[in-house]
């Protein structure tokens, strides 16, 4: 009877396509919204992940990575003296205005890396050599800076601009994860960074550190916090802390949460509803089968088979379409789109649940169905 069930499903092409469209649309909507949401979350903490260091140390009251709360210069040595710390280096991070030779001003994030190790540098460089940042007045931009500050004709290797009336010369373009605020990042050495900025009492933004091999990172962060009184976070925790802050303090959490939830409810409602309608419209056929001696169990199996077949097909097509959409948006760079397997799995589980649910409602209806309707 599986054969009969599938023929019934595919036989009425218009109804099948409508059913499939409903499910596909639902899956696409959820995967697309979910992936964009997740992409934004990844962007929001890219200031952490772009530096790719295991431990971040700073003021204990810090809320998120882009907020800078300067700490005393002595913090670097204090962190170095904590047992289990392999290395610790200073990081400067601050907002500054860059003045281009064409007179344009742009707000940038100045990132100063310790000069002897350049720890925190981006892993990939698109043009030039990162090491050239050690040359006089040299800076490295990230690829988004090129885009934001006027494009590759204005910003290229050799371009000179001013930071606080002091010269900066571009020697390389680095590849980084786009950030949420999309403020251009200018990399230089720590020593040069504090010369660019106006004199302040404290200049050290963060201490970046790594635990010795074999020592758990979480234990080292605890020790740093206990010995120095500073806030010490693993990169992962700091990323999550930042995501949490963004969710709480911007509209993104609520807005996207609502969209996703609505997409989910609407999508699943469409899916369940269309499938239920499909069975109701076929009630007479099922009644005829029942009159011919098909048990409720057999009919239940047929309906579940139909539900899962159309559900899984809709899942596949929906994800396919969402992914194509993702590729297109990712290429244009306008919206982040990060499709995680967790999301895909969640959608699959939800979809199968809703298919089972609407199949069950149909089955209950069929179990109660008087096969006598076939005589009417």
């Amino acid at each position: 009877m599986n054969y009969v069930a599938l023929k019934m499903l595919f036989g009425d092409r218009a109804k099948y396509l409508m059913l499939l469209c409903g499910l596909t649309f639902a899956v696409m909507l959820i995967v697309q919204q979910g992936s964009i949401f997740w992409g934004l979350m990844i962007w929001s903490q890219s200031s952490v992940s772009n530096l790719n260091v295991p431990i971040w140390v700073t003021d204990p009251g810090i809320a998120q990575v882009d907020e800078v709360k300067p700490i005393a210069d002595t913090a670097v040595d204090r962190v170095r003296s904590v047992p289990g710390v392999e290395w610790a280096v200073p990081l400067y991070k601050g907002l500054l205005r860059a003045r281009l030779s064409n007179g344009d001003y742009h707000q940038i994030t100045l990132t100063g890396l310790e000069s002897s190790t350049l720890i925190g540098r981006p892993a990939e460089v698109l043009e030039g050599r990162f090491e050239d940042v050690l040359q006089p007045d040299a800076v490295v931009l990230d690829q988004w800076a090129v885009e934001r500050m006027g494009g590759p004709n204005v910003i290229k290797i050799g371009t000179v601009f001013e930071l606080n009336d002091k010269l900066a010369r571009v020697v390389a373009i680095a590849k980084t994860q786009k950030s949420f605020t999309n403020i251009p990042v200018v990399y230089t050495t720590y020593e040069r960074a504090i010369r660019y900025v106006p004199r302040e009492r404290r200049t050290l933004s963060y201490v970046l550190a790594k635990a010795k091999d074999g020592v758990p990172v979480a234990e080292v962060t605890t020790r740093i916090h206990e010995q120095t009184g500073l806030g010490a976070f693993t990169a992962e925790d700091f990323g999550w802390k930042t995501i949490g802050w963004v969710l709480k303090n911007t509209g993104i959490g609520i807005n996207f949460g609502t969209t996703i939830l609505l997409g989910f409810i609407v999508g699943m409602a469409i899916a369940g509803q269309t499938f239920y309608l499909f069975t109701v419209e076929n009630l007479r056929q099922f009644g005829a089968l029942k009159a011919m001696g098909a048990s409720t169990f057999t009919l239940a199996r047929m309906i579940l088979l139909q539900a899962f077949t159309v559900g899984l097909t809709g899942y596949g097509v929906g994800i396919g379409l969402a992914t194509v959409f993702g590729f297109m948006t990712a290429r244009s760079g306008g919206l982040p789109f990060i499709e995680t397997w967790q999301l895909l799995l969640l959608v699959l589980v939800a979809l199968l649940a809703i298919c089972t649910f609407s199949a069950l409602i149909s089955i209950i209806k069929l179990a109660r169905l008087e096969p006598a309707i076939v005589f009417r």
Partner: protein, 243 residues
């Protein structure tokens, strides 16, 4: 063989005693069957006639075991239907009964052969064997050249033939037909009745046909008249040129 007095010497294949059935409750309660007594014998074709709304379909549904009755006993091939739990009754129906409806009730997505194969598939017979037997059956109702057609590509008369083949494919002992000619024009109705007599009627089968179409009354062996919820008359139909 056409002499019904011969038939009545054997025990009835279907025996109905005191069947009562009402629909609704209180003010809207209508009693449709008010104590039906009827015996149907193997080898005969019994017409159940009466005016529209008289309860013929209700009685058929009760015989088929797809409608609960309020009172009375239904005995089919020696089995009291009320003794069978729902699941067993469904299986029993699948194995012993065939149905033909006014609305042919073919599955629109299945070809003629596949439609005819369905009762066999329900009995868990393999698809290839079921289709083979379905094609043979379609051949017997004169549709050997239409086995792969979808119902929508067949005329009404042809669709009803497919339905007849489907009803007969598992060799039922009891063939139940509700207004089989009502959706067809006169000539096609006559052909369907001829086919039912030729192919449907068999020594070890009883055929019950509900109709209010007087043009086909002469096809039956006996005719029971259901009026006001009771069988008011049973007459034996004399056939010219037979016996």
């Amino acid at each position: 063989m056409d002499d019904s007095t011969d038939l009545q010497t054997q025990p009835a294949a279907v025996s109905l005693r005191g069947i009562v059935k009402s629909f609704g409750t209180g003010d809207t309660k209508v009693t449709v069957l008010r104590g039906i007594d009827l015996d149907i014998y193997l080898g005969e074709m019994l017409l159940l006639v009466g005016e529209s709304g008289g309860g013929k379909t209700t009685l058929l549904s009760a015989i088929a075991g797809i409608l609960e009755i309020d009172a009375g006993d239904i005995d089919v091939l020696g089995v009291p239907l009320s003794d069978l739990p729902t699941g067993k009754r469904t299986t029993f129906r699948g194995q012993t009964m065939g149905f033909i409806y006014q609305q042919f009730n073919l599955l629109p997505a299945l070809t003629a052969a596949e439609n005819v194969a369905v009762p066999l598939l329900i009995q868990k017979i393999s698809r290839s064997e079921a289709l083979r037997r379905a094609r043979t059956m379609l051949d017997r109702v004169g549709l050997g050249d239409r086995t792969e057609f979808l119902p929508k590509n067949l005329s009404g008369g042809q669709q009803q033939r497919v339905a007849i083949a489907r009803a007969l494919v598992n060799e039922p002992r009891l063939l139940i037909c509700d207004e089989p000619t009502a959706a067809l024009d006169g000539p096609n109705g006559q052909k369907i009745m001829e086919l039912l007599r030729e192919v449907g009627r068999a020594p070890d089968r009883c055929v019950v046909i509900v109709t209010h179409d007087s043009r086909i009354f002469h096809f039956g062996d006996r005719m029971a008249n259901l009026t006001d919820g009771r069988i008011v008359s049973i007459e034996t139909i004399t056939r010219e040129g037979s016996a």
